[in-house]
Symmetry: C2
Subunit: 156 residues, 2 copies
Amino acid sequence: MTPEPASSTDYWSTRLREQGLRVTHQRLAALEVIDHHPHSSAEEIYRLLKRAQRVPTVTLQTVHGIVNDLTAIGLLRRIDLPGKDSAARYETRVGDNHHHIECVRCGRVEDVDCARGEAPCLLPSDTHGMTLLEAQVTYLAVCHECELTLRKETHA
Amino acid sequence: MTPEPASSTDYWSTRLREQGLRVTHQRLAALEVIDHHPHSSAEEIYRLLKRAQRVPTVTLQTVHGIVNDLTAIGLLRRIDLPGKDSAARYETRVGDNHHHIECVRCGRVEDVDCARGEAPCLLPSDTHGMTLLEAQVTYLAVCHECELTLRKETHA
DNA sequence: ACCATTATTTTTAGTAATTCAAAATAACTG
DNA sequence: CAGTTATTTTGAATTACTAAAAATAATGGT
Ligand SMILES: [Mn+2]
Ligand SMILES: [Mn+2]
Ligand SMILES: [Zn+2]
Ligand SMILES: [Zn+2]
């Protein structure tokens, strides 16, 4: 059985060391922040790290390096949503192949459970001779608040 | 004196005028090029337009303007594929809600017919109170050529 | 066909997201 | 605790795209 870590810091530290990465307070703080603010962009993570005085000296370039490294070892998942306001977003919920629904107006993102739970959860009618890795599904929608806003605008 | 077959030029001209847009040789040439090279990026369209001396004076900014305008009136479809080295791609096959399979290594993109043919072709387990517009499906894969290349690299 | 109107293209700059490389810093090892 | 070197910081570059003003050309009326 897996022993429960005393704190989330211990948990992340163990995961980092397992992968041969050093345990820095920047990485730990980033993981905390992403865990509490899923689907954040590098810029948002950066602001959250500075705002709470967690890592006042951190730079945006460091955040990019961190999310790249942590994604590479499977501690984070990167999601690329469509739209020209395209900044990659990151989350700690990995390994369950879940999907996302995005409001095309305000960019709000919510999780959508996968029916199958592992990739690929959907099969193409034709693979064109390729080896399928994953079916990436993104639901585009308009959230309730934006619907109301749009209705007002249409009225005027 | 029209170097292009009158039929396709006439077709696009009619579509443009229907939408109140002027028929410019830049727009016509762009539509031709995209029709013959589906899933091209603005940069690729730009190079294709200059290469064949079709529109030697065209600029990349113009291509961006054209694809934006033509997408807005439904003559083109814009596809945003995942992977951060990915520029938006454009195609003339519109209105059938088809999907795509992309090689994650070389970026090759092929069409995948939609089982339903119109959006949304898939329903989320939870809409989170949002009004669903579309289920965007992208299959990530490794093409045959890339598979062979990767096998060689692993060997060495 | 000619001209006027104005949409479109071109020219010139600027922005946002991300990457790269060298120098400074700070984790791990012994 | 000191040495090694991964990581962060600093500073600059790149890519994809947008913005605004000046030049050009497509349409409509004569
Ligand atoms: Mn998620
Ligand atoms: Mn297609
Ligand atoms: Zn919204
Ligand atoms: Zn390939």
